[in-house]
């Protein structure tokens, strides 16, 4: 195990260090103009405690995951009628019951399911669905199907949890560019992929001048206002992220293939005050129009192993009780296979909610394979905003109706 040179002999705990990193490096408070993004300020030092609340990690499986080949309804003969070639045979499944089985690549998630920590939600979608990746995902991002919202559902949840924007780094988005879901009125999400590239390269002499880069001025317009705000938050944020990453031990572990969940684990271990993590899958293979078996097998294995590894990390760190993960895609896929041994864009999908706090099992009504809708598609039996409302209200303890604009039913999938 690598020695932590920064900390050795100092008697300072890791957690203190991060808090020191937050406020003790001589960054002044920045004054402000409009809704200045507060990354770390006095308020956040008090708020940075690990008791600040429960954490939600959204792991977005972009591309349109084929739910029917993920949780396979092998007990329904119609499944094989629709999918004579790419339907997965009973013998190749990890059985759940007499009707459903896990795709064979998903040993990791199956294990969490068997431990009673994973909820499968069936038939999740919305009415009048879009078959476009981008449109449908934007509906999921904004929680506004066939409509829109300037801000994302995670961004609005941050606003509901902390209306004054006092809590810094409430949202972390592991992505090359900001995901619409995290866009918020009064919180600037931390967006990065590589923590070590997340720093300003400066010659020693230049440090004296760096504080004036985004000096207070009257913005010339919307674009100017925006770049000023981001510039002010950038320096402080980069410092603390790198500190957390350089201390994280999971990154050197070859047994853990966490995709981008390793960065989440690092920040959680470092006691970041973040409550909302949003991780869109990069380099997705889920859009399986053609010769679907191999890429789908691989993608499910990577994702499932990463999720199991992530929760093993949470156990090691001692935070497994405080973290819930939510997995969704932008849509499921067409029920009948196409002529290219693949599947086209579809409608309702299968979601996962995972964590020690989750009452494992099956939720929602599995859509019928006999009564298909909208040209060979699954009818949605659970509005995705029911799942959102469940997470917002029953896990994060925020006002779901305020975030979602109306009241939605919630699922009873948390313990206690």
């Amino acid at each position: 195990m690598p020695t932590n040179h920064l900390l050795s002999g100092s008697g300072v705990t890791r957690r203190d260090m991060i808090r020191l990193g937050a406020g003790g490096l001589g960054f002044g408070l920045f004054g402000g103009f409009g809704p200045v993004p507060r990354v770390f300020s006095q308020a956040s030092l008090q708020a940075a405690s690990r008791d600040s609340g429960r954490i939600l990690v959204v792991f977005e499986w972009f591309g349109g995951n084929d739910g029917l080949n993920t949780i396979v309804p092998y007990g329904d003969a119609m499944y094989y009628t629709h999918r004579p070639t790419i339907g997965i045979r009973e013998k190749d499944l990890l059985k759940i019951d007499a009707h459903f089985g896990w795709h064979k690549s998903m040993r990791g998630m199956k294990k969490l399911y068997d431990e009673g920590k994973l909820a499968i939600v069936q038939g999740v979608g919305y009415d009048q669905p879009s078959f476009s990746h981008f449109t449908s995902m934007s509906f999921w991002h904004t929680a506004a199907p066939n409509s829109g919202n300037e801000y994302g559902w995670i961004g609005r949840t941050a606003s509901a949890l902390d209306p004054d924007g006092l809590q810094q780094n409430m949202i972390v988005n592991i992505a090359e560019s900001q995901t619409l879901a995290v866009k918020a009125a009064d919180h600037v999400p931390l967006v990065f992929v590589d923590p070590m590239k997340f720093q300003r390269g400066l010659f020693a002499q230049e440090r004296a001048a760096v504080d004036v880069l985004a000096a207070q001025s009257a913005p010339e317009g919307e674009a100017h206002k925006y770049v000023l705000e981001v510039s002010r938050s950038a320096a402080q944020a980069s410092e603390v992220v790198r500190a957390a990453w350089s201390r994280y031990e999971g990154k050197d572990n070859p047994d853990l293939r966490l995709l981008d969940l390793d960065k989440v684990a690092a920040l959680i271990e470092a006691d970041f005050p973040t409550r909302l993590y949003y991780v869109p899958l990069r380099n997705s293979l889920f859009d399986t129009h053609v010769n679907q078996a191999a890429p789908h097998d691989r993608q499910l294995e990577y994702c499932s192993d990463a999720i199991e590894g992530f929760f093993r990390e949470m156990e090691r760190i001692g935070r497994a009780d405080e973290v819930v993960m939510y997995v969704h895609s932008e849509f499921g896929r067409r029920v009948p296979e196409n002529t290219s041994l693949g599947t086209d864009h579809g409608t309702a999908q299968v979601n996962f909610v995972i964590g020690n706090a989750v009452k494992g099992g099956m939720y929602g009504t599995p859509p019928s394979l006999s009564n298909l809708v909208l040209g060979d598609n699954l009818a949605n039996t659970t509005d995705f905003r029911d799942v959102y409302a469940t997470l917002i209200e029953r896990w994060l303890d925020a006002d779901a109706a305020k975030v979602l604009g109306q009241r939605f039913a919630t699922l009873d999938l948390f313990r206690g």
Binding site: Q205, V212, S217, G221, H224, P295, D344
Partner: protein
Amino acid sequence: MSTRPSWSPGPASWKDDLTPIGAADWNYDRAAHLLSHAGFGGSPATIQKLADAGLDRAVRTLVHYESIPNPRMQPFVESGLWEPALNGFPESRPEATDRAIKNGVSMGIDVKPSGKRPLQPISDRFFYWLRATLLETRRLGYWWANRMLQTSHPVEQKMALMWHGHFATHENKVRDYRKMMQQIDLFERYATGNVRELTMQVARNPAMLYFLDAQYNVKGAPNENFAREVMELFTMGVGNYSEKDVREGARAFTGWYFDNLTFKVDPAKHDEGVKTFLGRTGRFDGVDAVKIIFEQPVTAEYLAGKIYRFLVRDELSPDLRRKLGAVLRSHDYEVKPLLAVIFSSRDFYSQASYGGHIKGPVEHMVAMMKQLDVDECPGVPDFNQSTISMGQHLLNPPSVAGWAGGKAWITPGLLIARGNVAREVLVPDMTGFRDWNFSAGTDDLLGQRLRDGYDIGAATAVNDPANMTAFDRAALERDEQFNTRISGYIGWEQAARKLIPTPRHAAQFDLTKMVLESGAASAGEAVDYLLWRMVRVPTATATREGFVAFLTNELGTGTLERAKSYMEDALRMVVHLIMSTPEYQIV
């Protein structure tokens, strides 16, 4: 020193007004605004020339560029990586080796008749082309960036870049740099031409046909991918057509495919039946479908709005969008008249448009070179690595929707990356630089092991081959037909052997000369000149003062005459700081 023209946005009331500005409204600063939006900005001398020409001639010269000589445009020099046997390249490594098992040959490579790993050459071949096309595409992107820098037709290049993001395909899926090259050529030829014709060409473009699975769109089994994206992303926008239009449109395009670099139609796979598409009924084919799409008024609005947002500012009102759409439609989808209207309009010079555009990373790199009077994009830092770190990989947009642009270009991380790239250009790490094109990444280790005398099994062992576990030894004994891990390394090596090296020179410029020629005598005047030359939007007084203090301190004096023999590096650091300001990122 003479007074320099200052930031002069038009009144707020000019917003959304497409009336041309008057001759009296034209000045140096407006010319600078025009060039930074229509192209990639330029030196004060270039801007002065535009200002002297007057508005009409300035706009005409920019938009009707065909007669202007463009001597520095040179064709891309290929490394010679392609071979005809690679045509119909398999979509995956399993497909590559399955073909070999079935036919005894795959991609022109025969299966070994006996011995260990009989399919190894097949697997190597597959990875060879993956690396070859990836590396050549990086050279292609660098070549294109230099065209943007060296062209005398900046609007042509700016619009070609726009179309690349609009009709987005990425090499990562297309896996053929030659098809990406065809696209650059197409986007340049039609940069300011007719959008309907361009869309027609895109629908027949091999990269696009492959990217949107056209080869799977056949009579009786239509694949909707292409028909959907044509309407959703390329022409109309979501909400303006039905799902039925998508299905019927897909039928119209059935049988369109490509062979190598050539568009083809297979009459046997084309659905000749009657289709009802966007309210019209007939035996339509793809050409008809495109024509019908361009009969929809919303198409003109969608495209004009997209062009406007790319060139001018992120937000536009529905009213302005309608007006712009009407201009494009009344000129039968010719882009030049639309650009002339935009570039002459009050709206374009209004407060809302001044500083309203966040530069994209490629645009930002090219503009940076122009401001520094650099003649050729440097090899150090690597062009592609630089723009990737800022969020844009030329010829590899993230999806068919292209780059989001606007505010999405700037997050705390990306803003920091912009400053870091500026530093690498201004103070390049010449001795520490490692050529990305000739580094196999983590596979370098495999190469070292082969050279140390380990066989393929040992070289690809998980642990140190000199100290193997029982598990590793057992793995060595396995009877494998090929080893993909070593192929990743061998493929890279084989491609790199043929790849033309990218020249790795630093950017050539002389800030000392630039500042002295400006007439600056003091540190304050030097900072003022550099800010004026490089940053469109005014920076805070405190920022300017901080930079002056920094420069004075670095020079050990505020007098340039005293410091001129040694001030280059200090000036470079000042420019690094300038390029790290939020204001520098917008025009």
